[in-house]
Symmetry: C2
Subunit: 212 residues, 2 copies
């Protein structure tokens, strides 16, 4: 009919990214179950069968979102926290990159952190990513400890790293809900809690429960 079709034909790679963008947006707002494939398709400016053709089922689509956002985040952090820096410097740069990422990709963060948790099929996927982060932080602490000629049990190291990661995630969540807050300032606050506490541990200062 008309020589100008209502919507352009685009190469697969481009459409896939548009679909993922839409999916991340809708999943983050509604949650996995409440999100509908129709809404995602509409938001991507495409019809539903195309989504199925390119990205597969709803579950596969969610995993694809998880992977893209997770990879982006890990790369942002890894790129900033070079392994040859001093521990505090490394922690600081990692945190800056992390909060910067969350500030810039609030939707992506919401998908990762708020939605994937809890939903059985995805919790494992997420746990793997968090485990990598925890491992990095634990490795950093261990490295700094050994430099001081000190050493603590692997499990203690893991738990402390877990707490630091958890605190960061929590502040990231706070950041996502406070659009006016600055990522860098949040990172500084996090350092004030994390590093001061961790530095004490590195110097062998520990807290012991009262006898009572």
């Amino acid at each position: 009919m008309s020589s100008v079709p209502a919507f352009k034909r685009l190469p697969r790679a481009v459409r896939e990214q548009q679909m993922l963008d839409a999916a991340v947006k809708v999943f983050s707002r509604r949650g996995f179950h409440a999100a509908s494939m129709d809404e995602i398709a509409e938001d991507a400016g495409i019809s539903k069968p195309m989504v199925y053709a390119y990205l597969g089922t709803k579950e596969e689509l969610f995993v694809a979102c998880l992977h893209r956002e997770g990879t982006r985040m890990m790369q942002a952090i890894a790129g900033a926290a070079a392994p040859d820096l001093a521990a505090d410097e490394r922690l600081w740069r990692g945190l800056k990159a992390f909060f910067g990422f969350v500030g810039a990709h609030r939707d992506g963060w919401a998908v990762l952190y708020r939605q994937a948790r809890g939903e059985q099929p995805f919790a494992g996927e997420l746990a793997t990513m968090r485990a990598r982060l925890v491992e990095v932080v634990a490795g950093m602490l261990d490295h700094a400890l050994r430099a001081e000629g000190r050493e603590i049990a692997a499990i203690d190291l893991e738990v402390v790293a877990y707490a630091l990661v958890g605190a960061s995630e929590s502040l990231a969540d706070w950041l996502a809900d406070h659009p006016e807050a600055e990522p860098e300032k949040t990172a500084t606050r996090m350092m004030n809690v994390a590093w001061l506490g961790a530095a004490q541990l590195l110097h062998g200062v520990t807290w012991r429960p009262p006898a009572d």
Copy 2:
């Protein structure tokens, strides 16, 4: 027919608790959407219309779970952390109560923390409860600060409190996934990160970002 009915008739108050028990269990395992009212009813040993008659719609049922578990948790903490204790002692007792609660009610914790997050209608409910906790922690820090003749901006206080609460939640999550771990030991580890860091802040030691 038979003079012995297959299932006993029980007073409303009892049945309601049984239903809530079942609901918490099923919601925690499956998540809000994937959980079915049929499964909850079956698990409670009752038929579906009874659930609707007593606790209302699925959403209302979930909110009821949230309230019961949340109230239990807050009471456990408030009962342990008396306001007249010193800051570190108070924090320690609060953490012990908190991790003790999570260790003993892993299902309840999962409903609160993993499921309610993300799902739009409930996130607010949960946020309110967390806000109360943050407020308590922030108040505690503020009190301790004033005792030292020091003071920091309200927003900084809130963010630090938020980080501490987040770290605790994160460790609670770790605890829920490690059945062999002892709640009290986890609380001690948390103190080692939280208190050592917070104590530094209380004494006016802060970390500043490098100039670069």
